[in-house]
C-alpha cells in the first residue's frame, strides 16, 4: 500500500509531509526518556510483524497491524511507523522519498484514530468486549488506510480513480484478516500481560 514517487501532485506531497511532521512531533512529545526503549522495541516488533505472511486463498498477504500499533502506542505510533517506513524505503526499496510523509500519514493517522476510538474499550472492557473492539479496530485501520491512499491518489488527479477503487476493494480480505489477527493478539495479550495496553502511559 505504499505510494511511490512521481504519482502524486505537489500539494498532496507537501500536505502529507506537513501533517506527518506534526504527527511525529506530537508522538515524540508523548515519549518521555523512560518510554523510548519501550517504544523502540515495540516499533521493532511491529516491523517484524509486518514481515509475517498470512496465507489467504492461493496467495498470501503481509500484515500491517497499524490498528494494534495505534491501540498500544497512541500518538507514538506516528514516529514508530515513520521509522518503519523509512527503513523499508532505504533498505528494501518499498515506497519512496518525497512520498514518505504521505505514506506515514496514510498508515499512522488511521492507527491513532483507531487507538482513540477502540483503545478505551480494549483497555477497560470485559474480555469479550475487548476482543470484539480489537477485531473492529484491526479491520477499521486497514479500511481507513486504503481510503486515505485512495484519497491521496484522487486528490492528485481524476485519472487515478479506478486505481484508487481497486486499492480499496482489493484490501477487503486484508481487512478481515487483520481484524481476526488483531482480535486474537489482543485477547491473548490481555490475559498474559494487560500492562501492554498501558505501556506508554506516562503516569504509572
Amino acid at each position: 500500500m505504499h505510494i511511490v514517487d512521481g504519482a502524486l501532485s505537489n500539494p498532496v506531497v507537501i500536505g502529507g509531509a506537513v501533517i506527518a511532521a506534526g504527527g511525529i512531533a506530537l508522538g515524540l512529545r508523548a515519549l518521555t526518556v523512560e518510554k523510548i526503549p519501550t517504544a523502540g522495541v515495540l516499533s521493532a516488533a511491529f516491523f517484524v510483524a509486518s514481515l509475517v505472511h498470512v496465507p489467504i486463498g492461493p496467495s498470501s498477504v503481509h500484515l500491517i497491524l497499524n490498528g494494534l500499533a495505534g491501540v498500544i502506542l497512541g500518538w507514538a505510533a506516528f514516529p514508530a511507523l515513520f521509522v518503519g517506513l523509512l527503513l523499508q524505503a532505504v533498505f528494501f526499496g518499498f515506497g519512496g522519498v518525497t512520498v514518505l510523509g504521505v505514506n506515514t500519514v496514510n498508515i499512522a493517522l488511521p492507527a491513532v484514530l483507531v487507538g482513540m476510538i477502540c483503545g478505551p474499550f480494549i483497555r477497560r472492557g470485559t474480555a469479550l468486549t475487548a476482543t470484539v473492539w480489537a477485531g473492529i479496530g484491526g479491520a477499521l485501520a486497514i479500511a481507513l488506510t486504503t481510503l486515505f491512499v485512495a484519497l491521496s491518489l484522487m486528490l492528485s488527479g481524476e485519472q487515478f480513480l479506478p486505481a484508487a477503487k481497486l486499492v480499496f476493494f482489493a484490501h477487503i480480505p486484508v481487512m478481515a484478516i487483520e481484524g481476526v489477527l488483531t482480535a486474537a493478539a489482543v485477547s491473548l495479550a490481555r490475559k498474559v500481560k494487560p500492562e501492554l495496553f498501558h505501556a506508554l502511559e506516562v503516569a504509572r
Binding site: L31, L87, Q159, A163, V180, L181, T182, A184
Partner: protein, 265 residues
Amino acid sequence: MAHLLGLGETGAVGLSPRPSPLVRRLDPRGRILAALAFAVVVTGLSSLTALVAALAAALALLAVSGLPVATTLKRMMLMDGFIVFMLVLLPFSTPGTALLVVPGGFVASAEGLRLAVEIALTANAVILALMVLVGTMEPVVLGHALARLRVPERLVHLLLFTVRYIEVLRDEYSRSRQAMQARAFRPGSNRHCWRSLGQLVGMMLVRALERSERILQAMKCRGFTGRLPLLSDLRFGRIDGLAAVLFLAGLLGLVLLEMCLADLA
C-alpha cells in the same frame, strides 16, 4: 539488519578486505542530502528523456556502489510489482488520443500511457538512488548522520532502538514459528491459522514489552539519563566536496535537459 537484508556492509571475506567502493567512503550526511536532492529534482521532471537520463544515472551509481546488482534490481522490481496495477489502469482512465481499443469499450490513451511511463521511471530512479546512496550505510550510521543533520534526538533514538532490536525479535519470531511447526502447525487459509498467528503476534508484543523493561533497567544501572552519546567520526573531506560538486552538476544537467526539451515541445 545486514543479515535480514542479505547484504553485508563490507562484503569482505577472507584475509584481505576489499577496498570499499567509492560511494561508501563518502560522508553519510552528504549521501542522505544527495538522495533527497535527487528525489526532489527527479520528481519534478516530466520529460521522458530527462527521466531516462535520471534512471541511467541511478544505474551508474549502482554500478560503482558495490551493492549486489542482481539483488538490488530484483528488489526494485518487487516494488514495480506493487504499482503495476495502477500503471496498467492509467492508460484506460486518462482521457485523450485513443491508442488501443480493448473489446468491451475500454480505450487506452496515449496521454495515459505516457503518464504511466513517467511514474514508473520516476519511482524506479528515485528508489534506486536511495538504496545506493543511503541503503549502503549501516543503519546505526544512518541514525548518527540523521542526528548530525538536526533530526530530533528522540526520533533518532527511536530509530536506533528499532534497528537494534529488529534482528533480535526476528530471531525470536523464527524460533516461535519453529516451535509451532514442531507442534504440527501448518499455515493455511483458515480461522485456526489466522487465530494462531494472531496469538503469535500478541506473544511477540508481550515479550517485546518485557524485554524493553529489562533493557531500561540495565540502562539505568549504567547511568542512563536519556541521552545516548552519538560517537561518530563523520568528516566532510575534500573528496566529499568533489562528489557534491559533481552530483550537483549532474542534477543541474537533468534540469537543463528538461528545460531545453520543454522549449522544443
